[in-house]
């Protein structure tokens, strides 16, 4: 109801405005297609409150002929001076070129940009004024906990939970459209959509990839990535690189191979597929047992969004645990390329190099945490670096041009590794492997960290991670041939921190306690000298990234389980964080009269 009232008022305004100013260039020809819902549709065309009602709006005949808000402002200004013919409207949308250098009024990919740093150059909200941060609006998803990072393009947010996508007015928080596709399969969480041009890419619990029209949420096409009956599902936010939609899969309850697909954005055709396990005989296959079906059932899911270096044209992706999960005896060897960071050619999917944070993992320590890219000095030389704080409790720094290992340091207590080998990989203590009578291990299978985003701030030179002390006891229960998990660990005690690491050494510069229980919030840093995250008790936090001191907090009533993001529209910076199923937008108080 709230939406509809707003729509009617604004819709009338918009309609008149459009007729007055746009003339025959009015983008919505009469007699357009039927709308899905009796709600407002907001298009990239219209800045701010200028919207059309569902009754008045129809899809443009030429979807590519849309322009962004800035263009529209300019257009309005020029039209009022009689300087521009309406025919000058040109194609826009989120082109791959725009993803190379996202403007601060957008957050167009899962991590905001290709580097995965989750560092924003916005500084309107800063350490000097964050204490006056206030709620701009809230959006209730009412379906499941929000674990996704919304995208924001042209004033519209795209938010997901499993089975659901919403387009939301990024200024005022109103729902524009809601796409729902109920399916069977794992509903553990969802990370968000990817976007190319005017199209969204949405992964589903039954391992499908759906392309939606970003204007109205209508479906363009849908493909099956993998057979859901075998235990595949997908939760990740696809990464758009050039003309590739990179999409990964989940599912380690059954023993199935992981892979990463590159999908053609217009048609849904698979361009290339990289399998986590090599084929028998290929390099890496020697890390699996011979004369066994283990390599064909080896797991290694690709369930988090990777990063991209446009200069090297390399995509960096983390892979998940091998299968059977806890039963290493079923798969002697390092089990490449599970629990690995891999560098793939974006156009061919060819493996350029790899590094394995957990060789022969038996604790479910996926190495899918964001491989963060930054250029910085190392040992006195400028280097192209890649850093990962991995679920196994170790922080790794690599040279991302060739995978050369530079740093391996635990970022929190761990009990399972006796040291680091000559290739920079932690060395497992065998007695800490799962066993029938139970092995007490830190960290637990949920990990010293997990999917919650880390951040790297070029302003402080520090790497930030949600780091947990988690103890559990791992039971290997299988007798006979191990299949599936083949056991499980039991959580004993968890307590969490936000930590700042010196990327040159991995040493902890500061640690901020966020309470007992598993931290589930991602981290974002900004040029306003702020770090945004949440604690385990339902508080949203802004910290000083140099010291870890709390500068602002709010009891949001539920634990934050997504990753913060930010954008600036009409001169106002918004910071978005979700607590359970509610998305909150924060901003500085709007001055009166605005």
């Amino acid at each position: 109801m709230r939406n509809r009232i707003a729509v009617l008022i604004l819709g009338v305004r918009q309609s008149r405005l459009c007729r007055l100013l746009c003339g025959k260039a009015q983008p919505f020809p009469p007699g357009g297609q039927q709308q899905k819902k009796n709600i407002a549709f907001s298009f990239g065309w219209f800045p701010e409150s200028r919207r059309v009602s569902a009754q008045q709006a129809a899809k443009p005949r030429h979807p590519s002929r849309t322009v962004g808000p800035r263009f529209f402002h300019t257009f309005l200004a020029l039209v009022s001076f009689g300087a521009v013919a309406p025919g000058l409207l040109v194609a826009q949308g989120l082109t791959p070129e725009k993803l190379l250098q996202p403007s601060p009024d957008t957050w167009p990919t899962y991590n905001g940009d290709y580097s995965g740093r989750r560092f924003s150059t916005l500084d309107q909200i800063n350490s000097g004024n964050v204490s006056s941060l206030t709620l701009a609006w809230a959006f209730h998803a009412r379906t499941a906990s929000i674990k996704s990072t919304p995208l924001e393009v042209n004033g519209i947010l795209y938010l997901t939970t499993p089975d659901n996508v919403w387009a939301i007015d990024a200024r005022f928080g109103h729902e524009i459209w809601h796409y729902r596709r109920v399916s069977q399969g794992d509903h553990i969480g969802h990370r968000g959509v990817g976007m190319y041009g005017d199209w969204l890419y949405f992964t589903t619990p039954d391992a499908h990839l759906v392309s939606l029209n970003a204007k109205d949420g209508s479906k363009r096409w849908e493909i099956e990535l993998a057979d859901p009956k075998l235990g595949y599902f997908s939760t990740m936010s696809p990464l758009v690189v050039r003309n590739h939609v990179l999409v990964g899969v989940s599912g380690d309850v059954t023993d199935i191979p992981g892979f990463l697909d590159s999908v053609e954005p217009e048609t849904g055709k698979v361009q290339w597929r990289w399998y986590t396990e090599p084929r028998p005989g290929e390099p890496g296959s020697e890390t699996w047992p011979k004369n066994s079906d283990a390599i064909r059932h080896g797991g290694g899911m690709t369930w988090m969004t990777g990063t991209y270096d446009p200069k090297l044209n390399l995509v960096y992706w983390g892979t998940g645990n091998p299968n059977p999960v806890l039963a290493g005896q079923a798969r002697p060897g390092d089990n490449l390329y599970t629990c690995s960071i891999v560098a793939l050619n974006a156009d061919t999917g060819k493996l350029e190099w790899h590094f394995q944070p957990s060789p022969h993992d038996v604790h479910d320590w996926d190495a899918v945490e964001t491989p963060v890219l930054f250029d910085a000095e190392f040992d006195g030389k400028p280097r192209n670096l890649l850093a990962q704080a991995s679920r196994n409790g170790f922080f790794f720094v690599l040279d991302r041009t060739n995978g050369q290992h530079l740093v391996t340091t635990p970022f929190i207590d761990q009990t399972w590794a006796s040291g680091v080998d000559e290739r920079g990989r932690p060395v497992r203590k065998p007695e800490y492997d799962p066993r029938p009578d139970g092995a007490l291990v830190e960290p637990a299978s949920d990990g010293a960290t997990n999917w919650m985003s880390p951040s790297f701030s070029p302003a402080t030179g520090l790497f930030y991670v949600n780091a947990r002390r988690t103890f559990s006891i791992f039971y290997l229960t299988s007798t006979g041939k191990a299949e599936g998990w083949a056991g499980r660990d039991r959580d004993l005690w968890v307590n969490s921190t936000i930590r700042a690491l010196d990327y040159r050494t991995g040493k902890v510069v500061w640690s901020h306690e966020i309470g007992d229980g598993e931290g589930g919030a991602g981290i974002m840093t900004t040029a306003g000298h702020l770090l945004f995250t949440g604690d385990t008790q339902g508080n949203l936090l802004a910290l000083n990234p140099s010291t870890g001191e709390t500068l602002w907090h709010l009891n949001a009533g539920a634990q934050m389980l997504n990753c913060p993001m930010t954008y600036e529209l009409d001169g106002r910076q918004y910071v978005l964080m979700a607590a359970d199923d509610t998305l909150y937008a924060f901003a500085l108080p709007a001055s009166r009269g605005e």
């Binding site: 009956k229 059954t254 009578d437 949920d446 056991g487 005690w493 306690e513 007992d516 339902g538 907090h553």
Partner: protein, 261 residues
């Protein structure tokens, strides 16, 4: 009044996280209702007789493929696909047709689906996990650790709070409680700026606020900005112990507790 304790990983928020983690393991593939145990057992017998020679007595493969991981079994509904293969065989792969009745085929299919379910459920340690698999430690060494290096005897007694403890819990639960006992209320003393002290049972604690049940049973809360908070957590020693217990010490201590019947 009842004071609900929410301070730790099994609290409101932690439990949500645990459920989320559990969902990851137990919910991915939707399977039909399980048939009665005797049908599955009958299917197992029939499978061993007719199929086990090639596919292994437990269907995990041999000369023939592993059927627990089989795509065909995953797609089978009411033995429509499995039945077809059994009746027609796969001559190209050396599998002969088998002259089984419809009922025998249905039993085999029930068994194969049960095996696939077992693999799916293998990420759960059963509550009746046998003591014999857990009992690998040395009870004497455990007793020595209890009274010595472990420091357990400072708070616990085999004839006091731990008398008959092995009778109170299933073996798996006993081990878990030994390492991380159920929540004991932490006590807290809040010292206010004027010097007044409020003592009670901890209800909520975060970076900014403290909530407690005071001696009269009423809930009281304070901002931590101007209050000094001193929490005495009876489980602190257990958390500290997790950091230094070796695997042998875990199993020896457990073996000792098992003797407290």
């Amino acid at each position: 009044m009842t004071i609900v304790l929410i301070p730790s990983s099994r609290g409101r928020l932690g439990r949500a996280a645990t459920l989320i983690a559990a969902a990851a393991v137990f919910a991915p593939v939707v399977v039909a209702q399980s048939p009665p145990r005797e049908v599955i057992e009958r299917g197992h017998q029939q499978f061993q007789q007719s199929c086990g020679f090639c596919h292994g007595a437990d269907a995990t493969g041999g000369r023939g493929p592993d059927l627990v991981r089989s795509t065909l079994v995953a797609h089978d509904v009411n033995s429509n696909l499995i039945g077809e293969i059994i009746r027609s065989g796969r001559p190209d792969k050396g599998m002969p047709p088998l002259p089984l009745t419809r009922a025998q085929v249905a039993d085999i299919a029930a068994y194969l689906h049960a095996r696939a379910r077992e693999a799916l459920d293998s990420g759960q340690v059963p509550g009746n996990y046998p003591l014999s698999r857990l009992l690998t430690g040395n009870a004497q060494a455990g007793k020595a650790y209890f009274n010595g290096a472990g420091g357990c005897a400072a708070c616990h007694s085999p004839t006091g709070d731990l008398a008959h403890v092995a009778r109170r819990y299933a073996p798996l639960e006993l081990e878990a409680h030994m390492l991380a006992p159920s929540h004991r209320p932490a006590t807290v003393i809040v010292t206010l700026p004027e010097g007044e002290q409020v003592k009670g049972t901890l209800v909520h604690l975060d970076e900014f606020t403290i909530g407690l049940g005071d001696a009269s049973g009423w809930y009281r809360s304070f901002s931590r900005e101007n209050a000094k908070v001193d929490v005495q957590d009876p489980l602190a020693a257990h958390h500290e112990l997790l950091n230094r217990l070796s695997q042998d010490e875990v199993h020896n201590l457990f073996a000792y507790l098992v003797t407290l019947k």
